[in-house]
Amino acid sequence: MVEATRTLDGPGPAAAAEPAETIARARSGDADAWGELYSHYAAAVYRFCRRVLRTREDAEDATMEIFLKLREKLGQYDPQRSFTAWLYRVSANHCWDTLRRRRVRQDLETEDSDSLPLEHPDPGQLEQLIAQRSGEQVRKALAKLPDRARMALVLRYYADMEYGEIAEALGVRRAFVGVVLLRARHHLRGALQRAGAGAAEQKQFGAARSKGDS
C-alpha cells in the first residue's frame, strides 16, 4: 500500500519526449523549427490555460501570448533542463498575472479563510466521492475554486511542477505549498459534494415527475 511515494511523477502532458533537436534549431532562429514546436506544444499549453483561466476566450488569448513570450525568451532557456518545465513555468507566470489582473474581490475574501482549520476527512466517504465523480465533474468543480487553489492544483497535477516551482509561480513560501494544495483539495471536495447533491436531487425530482406523468 505504501510502496510508491511518487506515483504521480509520470510524464506530464507533452513531456513524453522532448524534441531536443527541434528545440536547438528553434533556438538558433529557425522559423520552421519554431513552427514544429508550436504544433507540438500548442495543445498542452492551451489546455493548461483552459484549466487555469476562467473563460475560453481568455485561454485562447493567453495561449497566443504565451507562445509569443516563449519565442522571445527562447534564448534564455537552458537546454540542460527540461523544456516542458520551462514552458509551463512561463505559462504559469503569464496566467497567474492574467488572473491577478482580473482578480475579483470575492476571491480575496475566500482566500482570507486560509487560517481556518481543516476538518480531518473520513477516508471511506472520500473514497466513495472519488469513485463516483467523472473527469468532467471534477473539471466543473475545479472552475468554482478560487484562483489560487485552482492554479495550485493545475500546476501540481497537470503541469507536474515541483513544490519549489509552484511556490515561485504563486509567490508563496515553499513550505506553504502543501497547505495550499490541501486546502484546494478540501475546496474541491466541497464543490464536488455540492454538485453531486444537486445532481442527485434533480435526478430524484425528474424521476418523481416522470412517475407522476405516467
Binding site: 500500500m1 505504501v2 511515494t5 511518487r6 506515483t7 504521480l8 502532458p13 532562429g29 519554431w34 513552427g35 508550436y38 504544433s39 500548442a42 495543445a43 492551451y46 489546455r47 483552459r50 484549466r51 475560453r56 476566450e57 485562447e60 488569448d61 495561449t63 497566443m64 507562445f67 509569443l68 522571445e72 513555468r89 507566470n93 498575472d97 481543516l118 480531518h120 476527512p121 477516508p123 471511506g124 472520500l126 473514497e127 472519488i130 469513485a131 465523480r133 467523472s134 473527469g135 468532467e136 471534477v138 473539471r139 475545479l142 492544483l153 501540481r156 497535477y157 497537470y158 513544490y163 515561485e168 509561480a169 509567490g171 502543501g178 497547505v179 494544495l181 490541501l182 483539495r185 474541491l188
Partner: protein, 534 residues
C-alpha cells in the same frame, strides 16, 4: 499511537517529507489501517485529479491550430527602419524645410502653433540643434538596427538599450553649452550699470533688467521689463513684457501684452493677445506674430508674417507683408516697401496717404467646400494608409504589446479613464516641461517624444478593437491586419464627417492612449513579476 494527519500524509505521497519523518510514517502505516486508508484515498484523489485535468476534452481551437506566422519579424524591423527613415526624410523635406524657408522669406507657410513652437524655436532657441540631434539619432538608430541585423542574432532589449542610450547621449550633449546664471524669487532687478556675463535665467513675479546681460535672457514671470541691454536673445513667457532697451539678438516670447519701445537687432516671434510696436520701436529683422491685435507703429526692417485677428500698421515695413486674419488696417503714416498679401474675412482698409510699394493682394477666406473636402479626403486616405502600415509594423515588431493594447482597448471604461487622466497629466507636463525646458531639456523632450507616438498609435488600438468587434478574432497576421484595416477605415471615414468626426477622434485618442498606457503598465508589471519569479 497517534495517527498522522492529512497534511503529513499528502506531503509523504508527494515525496515532500524528510526521509526520517517519511520512514516513521511508513512504519506507522504498516500497523495502522486508518492511516493506510487515508494514504490510499489521497493517492486515489491525486490520480483522479491528474486524469481529469489531463483529459483531452476539447480540441484545439482553429484560431490556435494554425501555425503562427512569425518569420516575418525580421524583415518587419528592416521595413520599419526604412519607413521611419523615409518618413523622417519626407517630413523634413516636405514640411519643415519649406516652412522654415517660407517663414524666413516671410512666405505663407501652413504654420500651426505647434510647428512654430517645436521647429522654429519660438520658445527654445536650441530646437535648431535639436533637429540636427534628431537626424543624428535617426542615423544612430538605423546603424544599430543594421548592425544587429547583420549579426544575425537579435537581442531586442539590448538593441533598444543601445538606441536609447545613444538618444539620451545626443539629447544630453547640447546642454553644457547653456550653462547660465539662474535666479529665482519674487522680484529680480538687474540695476543700471551692472552686467551679467553669461546667459541669465530668471523666474519671478516681477523681473526688471536695467543693466546689461551679455548673453541670452530667459525669463518667466508676471511682468518682465527690459530697459537695459541684452546682447543675446530674450526668451520666455509672462503676462507683460516691455522692451524699452536694446536687444542685439531675437525676441521669442509668449505674453499677454507685449510692448516694444526699444530696438531689437534681429527677429521677433511673439504669441500675444496684444502686441504693440510703438513709434520708437525698431526691429532689424522680421516679425512673426500670432496675436489678437497687432499695432505696428514703429519700424520693421525685415518682413512681417502675421496670424492676427486685427492688424493695424502705421509704421514702416522694409520687407514683404503676409497677413492672415480678420481685419487689416493700414494708416496714412504707413510705409510698406515690399509686396503685401492679405488673406482674411474683410477687405483691407488702406488710408489715403499710405505709401505702399504695391497694391494689397487680397484673398477673401471663402469656404471652398468641395475642393477642400476633396483634398481632405485624399489626405485622409493617405493618413489611413500610413496608419495601417504602422499598425502592421507594430503587429510584427511588438506583437505582445499589440495584443495587450488591443485587449486593454476592450476594457472601454478603464481605457477611457486612464486616457483622459493621462492626457491631462501630459498637457500639464508639457507646460511644465517647457518651463523646465531651459533647465532640464532632456525631460521636456522625452515627454514630447513620448506624447506624439502615443497619440498616433492610439488610433491603431481602437481600430483593431473595432475590427475585432466586427469580424471576430481569428489568429494570424493576415486576419489581424485585415481587421485592423477595416477598423481604421471606419475610423478615418468617420473623421471626414465635419463635427462628429472631431468628437469621435478625440474619443479615439483618449481611448487608445488609455489602452496603450494600460498595456504598458501591465507589461511592466508582468516583467517585474517574471523577473521576481526567476
Amino acid at each position: 499511537m497517534n495517527h498522522f494527519d492529512e497534511m503529513t500524509c499528502l506531503l509523504y505521497l508527494e515525496g515532500e517529507l524528510a526521509e526520517a519523518h517519511a520512514a516513521e510514517l511508513e512504519a506507522h502505516a504498516k500497523e495502522c489501517s486508518a492511516c493506510r486508508a487515508m494514504l490510499h484515498v489521497l493517492r486515489e484523489e491525486s490520480l483522479l485529479l491528474s486524469a481529469s485535468l489531463r483529459e483531452a476534452d476539447e480540441t484545439l481551437p482553429a484560431r490556435l491550430a494554425a501555425r503562427q506566422e512569425t518569420s516575418a519579424a525580421r524583415w518587419a524591423w528592416l521595413l520599419g527602419f526604412a519607413l521611419a527613415g523615409t518618413g523622417a526624410y519626407v517630413v523634413w523635406t516636405s514640411l519643415i524645410v519649406p516652412w522654415q524657408e517660407s517663414t524666413s522669406q516671410s512666405g505663407m507657410g501652413v504654420g500651426s502653433l505647434l510647428t512654430m513652437l517645436f521647429f522654429s524655436g519660438a520658445l527654445w532657441k536650441g530646437w535648431g540643434s535639436m533637429i540636427d540631434t534628431i537626424q543624428a539619432a535617426a542615423l544612430v538608430t538605423l546603424g544599430v538596427g543594421a548592425l544587429a541585423l547583420l549579426r544575425g542574432r537579435w537581442r531586442r532589449r539590448a538593441t533598444f538599450a543601445a538606441v536609447f542610450a545613444a538618444l539620451a547621449l545626443l539629447v544630453a550633449m547640447p546642454q553644457p553649452a547653456s550653462a547660465a546664471e539662474i535666479h529665482q524669487g519674487a522680484t529680480y532687478v538687474l540695476p543700471i550699470g551692472q552686467e551679467v556675463h553669461d546667459d541669465l535665467i530668471v523666474t519671478g513675479q516681477s523681473i526688471r533688467i536695467d543693466g546689461t546681460v551679455d548673453g541670452d535672457l530667459i525669463a518667466f514671470g508676471q511682468s518682465v521689463m527690459v530697459n537695459g541691454h541684452v546682447t543675446g536673445d530674450v526668451i520666455g513667457f509672462s503676462q507683460f513684457l516691455h522692451v524699452g532697451g536694446t536687444v542685439d539678438g531675437n525676441i521669442r516670447f509668449f505674453a499677454n501684452t507685449l510692448t516694444l519701445d526699444g530696438s531689437v537687432a534681429k527677429n521677433v516671434s511673439a504669441f500675444a493677445q496684444t502686441l504693440v510696436i510703438n513709434s520708437d520701436g525698431r526691429i532689424g529683422g522680421s516679425l512673426t506674430s500670432f496675436a489678437g491685435d497687432l499695432l505696428l507703429d514703429g519700424k520693421l526692417g525685415g518682413s512681417l508674417l502675421a496670424f492676427n485677428q486685427r492688424t493695424d500698421i502705421s509704421g514702416t515695413v522694409g520687407g514683404a507683408v503676409q497677413i492672415r486674419g480678420r481685419d487689416l488696417t493700414i494708416d496714412s503714416m504707413a510705409q510698406l516697401n515690399g509686396p503685401i498679401r492679405f488673406t482674411g474675412e474683410n477687405g483691407p482698409e488702406v488710408a489715403q496717404g499710405a505709401r505702399l510699394a504695391s497694391q494689397v493682394q487680397f484673398k477673401k477666406t471663402e469656404p471652398h467646400r468641395r475642393e477642400a473636402t476633396g483634398r481632405t479626403a485624399v489626405r485622409e486616405a493617405l493618413r489611413y494608409g500610413a496608419a495601417v502600415l504602422v499598425g502592421l509594423l507594430l503587429m510584427l515588431v511588438l506583437p505582445g504589446l499589440y495584443l495587450d493594447g488591443v485587449r486593454e482597448a476592450r476594457r472601454f471604461a478603464a481605457a477611457m479613464g486612464v486616457g483622459a487622466v493621462a492626457l491631462l497629466a501630459f498637457l500639464l507636463l508639457i507646460v511644465l516641461g517647457f518651463v523646465l525646458v531651459l533647465v532640464g531639456v532632456g525631460g521636456g523632450i522625452a515627454i514630447a517624444l513620448a506624447y506624439a507616438p502615443m497619440m498616433y498609435l492610439a488610433q491603431i488600438f481602437v481600430g483593431a478593437w473595432l475590427g475585432d468587434t466586427i469580424l471576430g478574432r481569428k489568429a494570424g497576421i493576415g486576419a489581424q491586419l485585415g481587421r485592423l484595416a477595416l477598423g481604421l477605415l471606419i475610423l478615418h471615414g468617420i473623421r471626414l464627417v465635419p463635427f462628429l468626426g472631431f468628437l469621435v477622434w478625440v474619443a479615439v485618442l483618449i481611448w487608445g492612449a488609455g489602452a496603450i498606457l494600460l498595456a504598458l503598465y501591465q507589461r511592466s508589471r508582468s516583467v517585474s513579476v517574471a523577473t521576481a519569479a526567476v
